[in-house]
Amino acid sequence: MSGSSSTPPSSPPAIEARELTKVFPLQWSKGYMVAVDKVSFTVNAGEVYGLIGPNGSGKSTTMKLVLGLMAPSLGTTKVFGLSTSDVRARSEIGFLPENPYFYKHLTGAETLRFYGKLCGLRGRSLQERIGELLELVDLEHARDRRLAGYSKGMLQRIGLAQALVQRPRLVVLDEPTAGVDPIGSREIRDLILRLKQEGISVFLCSHLLEQVQEVCDRVGIIFQGKLRREGPLDELTAIENQTEILLQEASPALISKIQALIQAEGADLLSLGRPRTTLERLFLDEVERGLADARSAGVHSAEPSPPPRP
């Protein structure tokens, strides 16, 4: 996936982590635990970077180091050239934590106003921004409802809106689709792609590999605190000694000829069959089809309309 970044090429990297190490002392013993071990990676401006790894692999600690919520034991992290210990760097970052909890006593609009004011937004520009973001995350109908009455998916969406409130250049997302239904998950995926089109860098932590594969330009695989593999997604996922041919409207005769040619050349045919769609795609297609049927039959559905396909 290549980014259509609007950021000038001279722009410093969105994130530059060098030899990042975090050591936690263990309680009641003289030992220590290395949560992140000499991790180095770069997220270029306008790029979507996915950090994947199993639970306890060091993803969240790396993210907290990038956000400046933790200080590294060794190494450095910079956001657009500024050290993450510098508060000013955070005006460039929008952060959505996993399972976000906000002040439940505030309404959706009040929540965005609160975070907007923390970023220095005021007056009409803030009001307009709140309206834009509520429209973006489809929460206009709940703008004056307190967050205590929001569902998990709605909380995730208001969390995304607060992350974007100051128009950051870097958005950090920790498991952004955790607890979100397939349609909501699809919308968040589309939003990530849209942010990328607008030149916004995205740093994404997830263990939903399919989702990461769909949106990321580059991927890092972290395990036991070490970055095991890192690079462009296309390069990492390519199997060097295999070639894939995808045909459309191929006759059985043509396929027989190709098989014979493969045998004649001494290569192995590993698989032959029809490509599979994903369960997510199947689900969304069925929902879309159902809605279309209902519409053609003149029945108005209470369900939200499905997201536009990218």
Binding site: I93, Y101, Y115, R167, E198
Partner: protein, 303 residues
Amino acid sequence: MSVPNHAPMPGRPVPPMFSPGRIWTLAAATFTQLVRMRTFYFLLFFAVLVFGMSNVNLLYTAEQQLSTIRGTSFGAMWLFAWLFAVTATAVVIPRDIEDRTLYTILSKPVPRVEYLLGKFFGVLLVITVALGAMLLLSGLVLEFRKAGLIAETRSYLEQSPDLTPADIQGQLDAISSEGFHPRLFTAAWIILLQAAVMAAATILVSTFASSSLFTIIVGIAFFLIGHGHRIAVDYWSEGGATNNWLAWAAKVVPDFHIFNVHEKIVAGSTASPLVMAEITAYAGVYCVVYLLLGWYMFSDKEF
């Protein structure tokens, strides 16, 4: 979904390193949080207490009745202020940590000192508004009751042939002097100052405490030690203890007896501007020191 522009703002202004606006935003959010937790329900209890006291006629004189209303009102205000300062402050920061709301706040351009100050001023704002409301309510009850007592006393005294109009007026003036007096504002100010010291100390504790309960217990212990402060210092002095360590230990916790001046003011004394300035400075120094220590503890805290 519509497609608004989310592209970064061109020429984004550099956020200031210290912003009173951000502190105010955090303080206002804390105020709203505490108000929506229905903390002002205490005012209903206070209203019932004050109205109840105004209708109790067990005492002999009108002056004593007004004095009792005044004393009870300010006693309740004092209790509310320091207890609320401890419990509310002990809740607001640990709750942000547990709910991970702190992550989203500190990932914005918010220095940690501003976060602490926002919480501190938010709690103080609630206490100030509550004290103002209680002061207003007790003032109204006092004046209403005073008017009734003066009318009753006047009609009673006017039936006595031995009393001259000057005698009657003297007695009525004595009753009137027990009503609401502007000096009571200074008593409320001293109560607020003591609450501010308690809130600052509780902020300091909550920066390293592991739970709200622990913070509340330490806060209340701090309050009790502050009240036993003078007794302890006198005891050490009588025993000839001139240990420097004890002298420094005595300075760590403020002497809360200093704030007991509000009781004398409520009883009828007046505090001079110099005394008021000294008490204000004393509370101010402790607030600043506790908040600086809290900032030091909080600045490297990892979540």
